[in-house]
Amino acid sequence: MTSAFLRLEALGKSFGKHAVLESISLDIERGEFLTLLGESGSGKTTLLRILGGFEQATAGRILLDDLPLDAIPPHRRPVHTVFQNYALFPHMSVFDNVAYGLRVRGCGRDEMSSRVDAALEKVHMERFAKHFPRQISGGQKQRVALARALVNRPQVLLLDEPLSALDANLRLEMQRELKLLQREVGITFIFVTHDQSEALAISDRVVLLRHGKIEQSGTPRAIYSTPRTAYAASFLGKSNLVSGMVHHGLADCGAFSVPVNLRDGPVTFSLRPECIAPSPGAVQFAAEVVTEQFHGADSLLTLRCATGLELSARVAGSHNGGVFAFNPQDLVPLEQE
């Protein structure tokens, strides 16, 4: 049997009667950058804690290279965690923090020292080896926390919202560095975040969790361009949810009608604001501009059609209303919930 590098099989976790995770099945490839995305309470952190060995699943199992991971206690797993608040040891220098994992495993002095130096160099923190955690900034702590985990050469690195405490600019910079680092070391990263733009920017694959279940998973582009449900559409980026009625291959949404390959009945579509542009286009409709929010690179318009339907449109210039259009393939039918 060929199987994935890391396989989750029908993983479940409940506290008493309250189910936090339900039948999570997922195959993760070696060297993949996977993001678990979800709101607070979606179970993403619990899933990460189960992988890290800090919590036990109440159902299902985890296989790493076909071997069950569940039986291995946290301190023996080839899996390391980077915690949300970095969890650096305040009484140890940066060097000692990074050396910790090697020291407790009884690594020789010379090997330890050269590996720690190499790890610090990889995250550009070699000049801070003698500093204590309280003497360095948040972004630097983040780098040290990464080095401390990577120096042990884990097979899987778990990252629990590691960038959430950083300010916006530093966050973007760290996202870029994380991605570079991940490619360089080739370790499987499992990244938890509630920030959809971060998830899209950083991952090879996004797993959207909702109420302890997988809502949708796929590459950032796939999950963004073809959301499966209204929840996925509105959680990942901004989306117009347009409801209509299908009759004989034509979806009537009031302001416009679109030919579709769907069964007769009610339907909801997702239409991304950036898919709407001033005409020309295949599907056209007239609308007035209610509000305009200027964002620098583009503007977000709120359009109101004659039927009362309101749509958001992301356009480059300024507009006073008139005819707008989109392509029919941008209208993504959603599963009814």
């Binding site: 301190h75 969890a87 401390r148 042990n152």
Partner: protein, 279 residues
């Protein structure tokens, strides 16, 4: 004067009246002396301090007080640290009730707790009776009561909560992620304890140990009630000088000496604590 200013001055007035003034009086007294009729002569002299320096008895008693206080600290840590660890990491839902159980003895009068040990350690006390009954010993153990042993056990019993409370506070302050992170990085439970938990709880250990040391060093009731001649402590000497001997100037000089020693110890421990905190 405004009302607000009055309120801020009040604590200073309190300290001046009830702390500073008595210490000043004590300090003055320590330089005065007694005449033949035991009347205080208010002329500054170093006679009291010279007497202290030239009488070996005081040195012996101070050394003994330190030894007893040190034993009390060691025993209190030996009992208090594991207890604090248990309370913080393993007690689960019983934590609150066990924590209360540590505090409740503080509500009981010191005298009652000291006398309880008399009942246990006496020749016909609980312990001797029990040992005799099961033929573990031929006749009652005499060293149990009226000995440094009894004083140390009693003081340990009384001051263990003073060690447990600050240690619990410092253990509680250790973020849980640090412990998880240590285990995540491959440390065994014991390695996590020695490398993370213990070093981070040292400030609590230090303040608990300082409390226990200073309180037992200055204790006079336990040696009075349970100690014999071999366990007279420095505070008993002060009590005697101010009481039966009616030599307030000499008593004041001993008290000032104790005060200075205490200040030295507190300064050292505070320095240490600051160093650990910043490290």
């Amino acid at each position: 004067m405004t009302r607000a200013r009055l309120v801020t001055l009040l604590p200073f007035a309190w300290i001046a009246l009830f702390l500073f003034t008595p210490y000043c009086l004590l300090f003055c007294y320590s330089f005065w002396s007694l005449d033949a009729g035991q009347q205080v002569i208010r002329h500054a002299t170093l006679a009291n301090y010279l007497h202290l320096a030239t009488t070996p008895l005081y040195f012996t008693v101070i050394l003994r007080s330190m030894r007893i206080a040190f034993s009390v600290v060691s025993l209190s840590l030996l009992i208090g640290y594991p207890l604090a660890c248990f309370l913080v990491f393993h007690a689960g839902k019983y934590r609150r009730i066990l924590y209360q159980a540590v505090i409740i003895p503080l509500w009981i009068s010191y005298l009652v707790r000291a006398y309880a040990w008399k009942v246990i350690f006496g020749n016909e006390g609980v312990l001797n009776t029990l040992l005799l009954w099961c033929h573990a010993i031929p006749h009652p153990l005499g060293f149990l009561l009226y000995s440094p042993f009894a004083v140390i056990v009693t003081l340990t019993h009384i001051y263990v909560p003073f060690v447990v409370l600050p240690v619990v506070a410092s253990l509680e302050k250790i973020p849980h992620e640090l412990i998880e992170s240590s285990s995540d990085l491959g440390a065994t439970a014991w390695q996590t304890f020695t490398r993370v938990i213990l070093p981070l709880s040292l400030p609590g250990v230090l303040s608990g140990a300082t409390f226990a040391f200073l309180l037992s060093f200055g204790d006079f009731l336990a040696p009075l009630l349970l100690g014999g001649p071999s366990s007279v402590m420095i505070a008993n000497i002060v009590a005697n000088l101010f009481g039966a001997d009616y030599n307030w100037p000499l008593g004041a000089a001993v008290a000032v000496l104790i005060l200075v020693m205490v200040l030295v110890i507190v300064t050292i421990t505070q320095r240490l604590e600051r160093r650990w905190r910043s490290a």
